[in-house]
């Protein structure tokens, strides 16, 4: 090793604590980048692998009832490679041990052979045997939620009668990787399960023998999805099709896509924060080293080392730290990526989570790190080059101080000398102080981003389930029933209040944009389902006209007063123009509402409801749900408490991991910034502070003078950081909003407080470490040297 490189190694060893804290900040940035990209690629790979393995369909359609005889005409559609005609029906289940009745989606298996599309990945057990109508395969999430294993039995309410079923297999399906029921705000593995059953029995039970009500199709390579959908609609509309749609609108697929996209957003937003802080720290530390080594630089140059070699020497110093950070970050990122990917196992039911880290990821991380580190070194390296040997041999010109404006005029005119010392040092290097303040402040958005998810989810749950949906359960009917059922249900013991809704499947269009959803007709006097604007003020349902959630209005490009074409997808399938009367803010889903009577008029129908929301006496809830299970024509009973409970259980553990990671990252930033600044401040002031110690100032007093500066910087950084946190969250929420969810940028005061406390604690820990160095200041040595 060359002597000059040996110097590099010794210099690094001399300041290993600083080098390590900076490397850790870099490592966090690299880890965030690598983890997010690894998760992105892993989810993508796992999803694609399953889609390919299982022949996931490209086009989907629900029909009221169409004859199987239509099959040849469907198969003849150009661009259609394969088609599966199925019977699908939602039923209420009776699972031992489940208080609230779960909803089961029964999907028919072909009479002969296995499904061509959306093939099941059998996890346990076997396929139902021919002719055994009671044998079912259950989706894995639901089986796990209820501890079901092959051999267990459960009952399904089919046409008002309980039909016993035997679980023979547990399986995964590409259609239900994320098992959420259309219209439900949250996924719930305990309350929603998929049951694959032999076709014959299911068809017989629902008058579907020789018919189908659900279609999945695969496109031929290069085929136009739009053309196939149009052809399918032409063919199936007479049979009550709700309109075929592509993968992009398939619920499970959409959720996964949103999540994958989210990881992409994380990869772009988080790492720059860390690399910015790291670059700043490298910049400050290197500037300090160059200042402290002025004479050494001069000596090297006068010995004949050229500018390039000396400049490279200091650049290597930065690169060494950056490389350490990069290596640690890559390892940490791979580990976190695996952890986060593994965390999705509870969310996305895939046969295997393939953890992949494409070689491009470390390369991108290395490039980004080296650019940041190199950028940080430019100013210092340039000053090294500019320094003439003779100039460097002389001590640097003394810094000039002046009395600050505040001291001359303001309330600080009468402060003590020690306070002046602190203020002048701060004011003497305003840029350094500013950068330190910003550096510390940047730790806060990172912490807040971690903590905010809990607040946002709490807020969403609170708004959705305490303000918007105030009923305890929703009873849905297989089809529209006379509104008299509302009174029947209201009279059941345990029901405090019952309100009927009418949901009509529609396709809304304005100009060239359209969207499939359902218009929910609400009673204007109702209280169990309310609408709110974005500031949580209740919005009254107008007597006429449509109310859309603001994201749906945005998607359709309409404003209140604009006309929207409503194509009803059931009954006589009328198409009508309706004026958008108002928009409301809802965080989940893209929904449409109308006054129920206006909706009846639109449909030219009488008083019909499709669902009843009930407020329930908690003491009698269990008995009521048992009673409702057998209520005539009831398809499903969705119980809010059960859904919420399950949501919290799965989501919170997920969010806590994320919060933990980000909090640890924030601590690293805070320590990195505070520790390095304190060390540099100490190095710069060692002479002054030791002089003060000689004059009779105690260790505590001297430390106080040094840390007062940090305390002021911290005090200024906190509000700035909290504000940045708020802005960062708002921005992140905006760029990561999906059609299905908009996360509210809600941050609880508690989260601000925790974030501030974490940063203060990290700062105090750093100060404590530096304090021990103040105690060891060399009092004798300082008297023998000029500053």
């Amino acid at each position: 090793m060359k002597a000059i490189d040996r110097k590099l190694v010794r210099d690094l060893a001399q300041m290993k604590a600083q080098a390590v804290t900076i490397a850790l900040v870099i490592a966090c940035g690299v880890a965030a980048l690598v983890a997010a990209l690894a998760t992105y690629h892993s989810l993508r790979r796992s999803q694609e692998a399953f889609y390919v393995e299982s022949h996931f369909a490209d086009v989907f359609a629900s029909i009221k009832r169409a004859p199987l005889a239509l099959a040849p005409r469907i198969e003849a559609i150009a661009g259609l490679a394969a088609v599966e005609l199925r019977v699908v029906h939602d039923v209420t289940l009776d699972v031992p041990g489940a208080a609230a009745p779960p909803v089961g989606r029964m999907i028919s298996l072909p009479d002969r052979g296995l499904p061509l599309l959306n093939r099941l990945h059998l996890r346990a057990g076997r396929w139902p045997e021919d002719g055994r109508d009671e044998e079912v395969i259950v989706s894995e999430g639901f089986a796990m939620g209820h501890g079901l294993v092959p051999g267990d039995t459960l009952r399904a309410l089919v046409n008002g009668r309980y039909q016993p079923l035997t679980v023979v297999g547990i399986a995964l399906s590409p259609e239900y990787v994320f098992a959420i029921r259309g219209g439900e705000p949250l996924p719930d593995d305990r309350q929603f399960g998929i049951l694959w059953v032999p076709r014959a029995g299911l068809a017989a039970a629902y008058d579907m023998t020789g018919a189908f009500n659900d279609l999945v199709a695969a496109l031929a390579p290069g085929a136009s999805e739009g053309a196939v959908i149009a052809a399918l609609d032409t063919l199936l509309t007479p049979y009550g099709s709700l309109g075929a749609y592509g993968r992009a609108e398939q619920m499970s697929h959409r959720f996964i896509e949103d999540e994958i996209r989210q990881q992409g957003v994380m990869a772009q937003t988080m790492p720059p924060v860390f690399l910015l802080v790291a670059a700043f720290l490298l910049n400050v530390v290197l500037a300090r080293i160059v200042a402290a080594q002025r004479e050494q630089i001069a000596a090297l140059k006068s010995l004949g080392y050229d500018n390039r070699t000396v400049a490279l020497h200091f650049l290597k110093f930065v690169l060494a730290i950056a490389t350490l950070g990069l290596v640690v970050g890559l390892a940490l990122g791979a580990w976190l990526g695996a952890l986060m990917t593994g965390n999705y196992v509870n969310f996305f039911r895939l046969p295997a989570m393939h953890f992949v880290l494409p070689p491009s990821v470390p390369l991108v991380a290395a490039l980004v790190t080296l650019v940041a580190a190199g950028g940080a070194a430019i100013a210092s390296v340039r000053s090294v080059v500019r320094l003439a040997p003779a100039e460097a041999m002389r001590p640097p010109a003394p810094r000039t101080f002046r009395r600050t404006f505040l001291e001359r005029a303001g309330p600080l005119a009468r402060i003590g000398t020690r306070a002046r010392f602190v203020i002048r040092n701060l004011a003497g290097r305003p840029l350094r102080a500013l950068v330190t303040i910003v550096g510390i402040a940047l730790a806060l958005p990172v912490t807040i981003l971690g903590l905010f998810w809990v607040d946002a989810l709490d807020h969403m749950i609170d708004v959705q389930f305490n303000a918007v949906e105030r009923g305890d359960a929703t009873i849905a009917f297989a089809e529209g029933v006379d509104a008299g059922v509302v009174h029947e249900i209201a009279r059941l013991p345990g029901v405090r209040l019952a309100e009927g809704y009418r949901a009509v499947p529609v396709r809304l269009s304005a100009g060239h944009r359209d969207y499939r959803t359902a218009i929910v007709g609400l009673d204007r006097q109702g209280t169990l389902r309310r609408l709110f604007d974005d500031r949580l003020r209740q919005v009254a349902i107008p007597a006429e006209g449509l109310v859309l959630t603001d994201r749906l209005a945005e998607r359709l490009g309409v404003r209140p007063g604009d006309a929207i074409s409503v194509a009803v997808l059931e009954g006589d399938r009328p198409v009508r123009e309706v004026v958008l009367a108002a928009t409301v803010a809802e965080m989940i889903g893209l929904n449409a509402y109308m006054d129920v009577h206006a909706l009846h008029r639109l449909m030219h129908e009488g008083d019909v409801v499709t669902a009843v929301a009930v407020a329930v006496d908690p003491a009698m809830a269990d008995a009521l749900y048992v009673r409702l299970k057998t209520f005539p024509r009831v398809a499903t009973v969705a119980v809010k408490a059960a859904a919420l409970d399950s949501f919290r259980r799965t989501t919170m553990s997920f969010v806590l991991v994320f919060t933990g990671i980000l909090t640890a990252f924030a601590v690293v930033i805070a320590i990195g910034v505070v520790y390095n600044n304190a060390r540099i401040a100490l190095a710069e002031r060692a002479w002054e502070l030791a002089s003060l110690r000689v004059l009779g100032f105690t260790r505590g007093e001297v430390a106080g003078m040094l840390f007062a500066e940090l305390a002021i910087e911290l005090a200024l950084a906190l509000p700035l950081g909290l504000w940045l946190g708020h802005e960062f969250v708002a921005w992140l929420v905006e760029i990561s909003a999906t059609e299905l969810f908009s996360i509210p940028p809600v941050i609880a005061p508690r989260s601000y407080a925790i974030a501030a406390l974490i940063v203060v604690a990290a700062a105090m820990a750093s100060a404590w470490i530096v304090r021990r160095r103040i105690d060891r200041l060399d009092l004798v040595g300082v008297l023998k040297t000029r500053e």
């Binding site: 020690r418 002046r420 003060l692 009779g696 009092l779």
Partner: protein, 232 residues
């Protein structure tokens, strides 16, 4: 007696080498005395001064300041000793660059039990016109006079000066020595001055010659010279 030292020894470990800075020094300093410690580099004079000033502790021996043993005192006690009883003047002044002349003195008067006003101390060293200047705006001699004002403002029992003229030119050095002598005479402050400049010895009541960590000789001046009377 202000200070009584017996058998003071100090050994430093410099890496793997042991350096014997003091090898048994006996010493008595009377109240109001002007003492000059004379000796070449490495003779142990700074180590002695540092121990007397509570900046360092001896390896063995006792150093009594009135009835306190500085040799066994703890860190906190030594800090209080320096704060309340000792005034230091150093070769490089050790002023705080971010504080003005007045503030540098106030720094000490704010923590001392019965100080004079900073303006008073600065008047004694003739710096009244420079009260609001920063150190960087002063000459070396002026800076050293600020250091002296800072040292005496607390009304110390003993003024310890380590090469006070070491960084100054001839004329300025004489001005500073004159100030130290005047403080000793007018305020009765015991003064101990380290120097390797033999000419300064003439200003002292007693001159202690140090060599190899021992007191090699003591000269008593019957007649003290003024700063104006000495030359080098």
């Amino acid at each position: 007696m202000v200070v009584v030292a017996r058998g003071l020894a100090k050994t430093y470990r410099m890496g793997e080498v042991e350096v014997r800075a003091l090898a048994g020094v006996d010493l008595e300093i009377r109240e109001g005395e002007f003492i000059v410690l004379l000796g070449p580099s490495g003779s142990g004079k700074s180590t002695l001064l540092n121990i007397l000033g509570g900046l360092d502790t001896p390896t063995s021996g006792t150093a009594l300041w009135r009835d306190h043993d500085l040799a066994t005192a703890g860190e906190a006690e030594l800090t209080r000793y320096r704060r309340e009883h000792v005034g230091f003047v150093f070769q490089f002044y050790n002023l705080i660059p971010s504080l003005t002349v007045r503030e540098n003195v106030a720094l000490v008067t704010e923590i001392a039990p019965s100080p004079m006003r900073p303006e008073e101390a600065l008047d004694l060293v003739g710096l009244t016109p420079r009260l609001d200047h920063f150190p960087a705006q002063l000459s070396g001699g002026e800076q050293q006079r600020v250091a002296i004002a800072r040292a005496i403002a607390k009304r110390p029992d003993v003024l310890l000066c380590d090469e006070p003229t070491g960084a100054l030119d001839y004329a300025t050095g004489k001005v500073v020595l004159d100030v130290i002598a005047r403080i000793n005479r007018e305020l009765g402050t015991t003064a101990v001055v380290i120097t390797h400049n033999a000419a300064i010895a003439g200003m002292a009541d007693r001159v202690l010659r140090l060599a190899d960590g021992r007191i090699a000789g003591v000269d008593v001046n019957a007649h003290r010279l003024t700063a104006a009377e000495i030359a080098w």
